[in-house]
Symmetry: C2
Subunit: 206 residues, 2 copies
């Protein structure tokens, strides 16, 4: 398999999962600074012009929640999701859908407001409000969703690398992690994990 | 099971899937006009204050992609997803993640810009750009993702009611379906389906 990523993006979540699974894959960096994600060569891989993309023998997969579940199901021995418990699995999917469609979207208004507005003043207003929007998402996770010690409870799952990936952006998003003790502790423990260190080192040294 | 919905929301996708599955459930309408989704009673069910929510004997599920997959896995005889083919299943998940995190989000900038901005001029600018953002999403689906005759090909899946639900909003989002012949044809076929007619009738007559 070949995994297309860019550093400091949500691709890190799937990258960590591939490491946790012990998957055989090679990394392919997409140079966002050079707008490589919009080149015909990359658009042929992912017409959305985004990362991550996972090239498998069967075809190409995109979207973090889909890649995470595919990795968990393809490497069941890694126990990255409660595959035999439909309700527990749905809870993992629900958490990851919230990260994908609400938390990451709130963050994206600081980074990529041009997706939803052209006027510079409107984009500036999105940037201004992003700390509040992102902060409310993480407060909800801290208060209502995070079970502990891992996101879903006693077992590490694909929800953990995904939360960790978005939580890495908290300070840049203008949110103080001191109000999020469970998430901050989770982030600290995740950052010490060998798989996480390996994935981050590979992304930032390439 | 008890299914919380509001008419004209993305809850319709899960509602149709419950019908397709032949699930035993009761409907519970959340009155958005009265801001019922923000009442303590509903926040106790879904702290996000959104629909859909599916109350099961094991607990409450939220987020459309998670509910759809839970229904497909809980009622395998309904064949709503390729449960025995991990790659094909991941493609369904990828499609639904795109609907959830990109297409629905583009639409939400016409309806709920207050999530990401306070300034009325910024919210107006989001509304102005929504037809372009939504239109680009559906054009990508039409060109690159929709296989036909159903979203994923020969088999009807949980991607079909979800696409149908968001495609119902095309005209209101300022997108002309005549440029989207495959999606328009799919929408027309879906709207004739007995399960779809039953779900819509139940939502709009309650």
């Amino acid at each position: 398999m070949k995994f297309y990523y860019a550093p400091h993006t949500c691709a890190l979540a799937s990258h960590i999962a591939l490491e946790e699974a012990g998957a055989d894959y090679e990394l392919a960096r997409v140079d966002f600074a050079a707008d490589e994600q919009r080149t015909p060569a990359y658009i042929a891989i992912n017409p959305k012009g985004r990362v991550p993309s996972l090239v498998t023998p069967r075809g190409i997969l995109t979207e973090t929640p889909a890649i995470l579940m595919f990795v968990a199901q393809s490497y069941p021995q890694a126990r990255l999701a409660p595959l035999d418990d439909l309700f527990a699995l749905a809870q993992v999917q629900s958490f990851n859908a919230y990260l994908c469609a609400t938390v990451h979207v709130a963050h994206a208004h600081r980074m990529r407001g041009y997706r939803w507005a052209d006027e510079p003043t409107a984009i500036a207003e999105m940037i201004r409000k992003a700390p509040q929007a992102v902060g409310e998402c993480f407060a909800l996770i801290e208060r209502e969703m995070f079970v502990g010690p891992w996101v879903m409870g006693e077992s590490y799952t694909i929800a953990d690398p995904y939360l960790f990936t978005l939580a890495q952006w908290l300070e840049l998003d203008g949110v103080d992690p001191k109000h999020l003790p469970k998430i901050a502790d989770h982030r600290a423990r995740m950052s010490e994990r060998a798989t996480v260190r390996k994935a981050i080192a590979a992304e930032t040294s390439a």
